[in-house]
Symmetry: C2
Subunit: 350 residues, 2 copies
């Protein structure tokens, strides 16, 4: 076969740049061509792909002519408008936005957890929320072996989850604080929300807008997406999502209770050591535990600080760290495409 | 009465400087004199107190001659050596280190929670760990009204908890990262431990050294000190303590289950609104929630993000933020002294 014609929608963004890097040299997917799409504002930009310079084009319905695989990461409204157009042109869409995630017709997939859901796709596959992906990658092997009754998560999320402008804002603010200059927040916590707060040397317990029951949209995503991916609507999941002044990689404290209460920390560690996509970094004697700066640029999910709750048999803590732009976004999307290819669910059009 | 002769041991440190500020204008305690004590290395330094310049003296057993109240915050070994000397000279010691905290003869006190324990003192009163204090200040009013069955805490702790040198390290590293220069960590996560890691734009899931069951000393403190302060050895408490790149104020996600399962989030909010030392900042509609930079320099504990766990009746989340150098250290110590004074347990020596 000749390889796929791939389009990246949102090619100039933080996740888009990771798509380009991964497609250059880090995918098993046979590639025939790569098309870079973005908003009108970014059209005309030149971006390097291997030894070529590619020109970014404005996304239009006709952009998807001849495209076999479209990787979307340009915001929910862009996916809402153009993903169905791409499907009409025969492309399979892997969408990194939240727009289609809870649509019962759209599979929501983490390849290590629920690849079988890909068989039910009708052209669009949704990539889950970054903080959800790394949590389920670490929890699923435990669930398979010991069952899972309850999960309580607190996140320490990097600003890159809010895009390149949020990264720029953190760096600018950090320098202003070091210079004893006033800061002028304009993006975080949520660019479209009313108030903006300093993130440099601060925490912000708001990721995305507030919704029902005083949970944020990000917290509801962690609850609802985890249940959909694990295909278990009765699973007890709850979360508090907090932005911290970090550029890349989300950290999470994950407290969980197994159904089989006889599991030990060594059992949990043993299961995770052979789990796909998981690297156990857990050696307290030698001060080894996952760190965001070590996870940056890596595709795995790093797990450490595994230990039991001393008061509740069958309950455990772990600390889960992963690059939110890779496993949390671009890499998981590309793994979905690779899995579709392996399952013979992705095709080069005539 | 003429007022107390007060000694500050560790006057040149991050907490010591807060003691000086508070004693200048922010205490109800009648003060006759203030003596600044530190290590030999710092002796001779001049520090401003009101309109005087005071000379820092080296701490010796004789330093406590005529001292009525000694506020210690210079490390456990200094307290071990000199707190008994201060008591011999008739002083009451309020010790901010961990050295005496779990001694059954030494009361461990948060004045909003267990002032009655002060009656049992034999000269030394221990000030609890910073991350424990703010958590129990927020939990005790709930416990009084609805009972408390279980607590699961994740912390987002500021570097100032590790002293002035750790603050300097964060600021230096942050500038180095912004300049694209290499960083050279020498202090954090634990100055006395073998390996040191970057804290700027990173998280470190290690505060203090690792101990039994792969919990850190800081995590054991949160468990054991909470039980001692609340005088409930059966209370289920567990924690994961994480350092984040913040200068002042610890944040905590606190998940708790009440004994009376009928409580609602509004009930919890109502109880906390009238609780001593607590300020409820909880208005999601207007993006109001506690933030470290807002808590800095304030004596209160700020609580927000109060909401129920959707799957477990009687379980709740809250987000607790407080200045770790004030309510977490200097202010709580001084409040202990003020409470001793009010209870007629502190005396001016003849």
């Amino acid at each position: 076969m000749s390889g796929y014609n791939v389009a990246i929608v949102g090619a100039t963004g933080a996740v888009g740049s990771r798509f380009i890097q991964l497609l250059e040299y880090e995918t098993k997917l046979p590639i025939n061509s790569v098309k870079l799409l973005a908003s009108k504002r970014s059209a005309g930009k030149q971006l390097k792909f291997k030894d070529q310079m590619l020109t970014v084009e404005e996304t239009t319905p006709d952009s998807f002519e001849g495209v076999d695989l479209a990787l979307f990461s340009a915001g929910g409204s862009v996916s809402a408008k153009f993903a169905p157009e791409a499907v009409k042109h025969g492309a399979v869409v892997v969408d990194n936005t939240s727009h289609f995630r809870m649509d019962p017709e759209v599979p929501l997939v983490v390849p290590e957890v629920n690849p079988q859901a890909l068989k039910r796709h009708h052209g669009i596959i949704a990539n889950p929320n970054c903080s959800t992906i790394q949590m389920v990658v670490a929890l699923e092997p435990v669930r398979q072996k010991f069952g899972l009754d309850q999960v309580i998560c607190s996140t320490y999320q990097a600003v890159s989850g809010a895009g390149q402008s949020a990264i720029n804002e953190l760096m600018t603010e950090a320098q202003q604080v070091l210079n004893h200059e006033p800061v002028e927040p304009k993006i975080l916590p949520v660019s479209g929300d009313e108030k903006h707060y300093q993130i440099a040397f601060n925490t912000l317990a708001q990721i995305d807008v507030f919704e029902d029951e005083d949970y944020t949209h990000e917290e509801w995503k962690m609850i609802n997406e985890t249940r959909k991916i694990m295909e278990d609507n009765d699973l007890k999941v709850t979360a508090t999502c907090v932005r911290v002044p970090i550029v890349v990689s989300h950290s999470e404290t994950v407290y969980f209770t197994t159904t089989d209460r006889s599991a030990t920390p060594d059992d949990i560690r043993a299961v995770l050591k052979t789990a796909p996509g998981v690297v156990v970094e857990d050696d307290p004697k030698h001060q080894v535990y996952p760190q965001p700066i070590n996870a940056e640029g890596k595709k795995d999910t790093f797990v450490g600080r595994i230990r039991r709750d001393m008061d509740n048999q069958g309950s455990f803590h772990m600390y889960v760290v992963s690059d939110n732009l890779l496993k949390g976004a671009a890499w998981n999307s590309l793994e979905i495409a690779e899995t579709l290819h392996e399952m013979n669910l992705l095709h080069v059009q005539d």
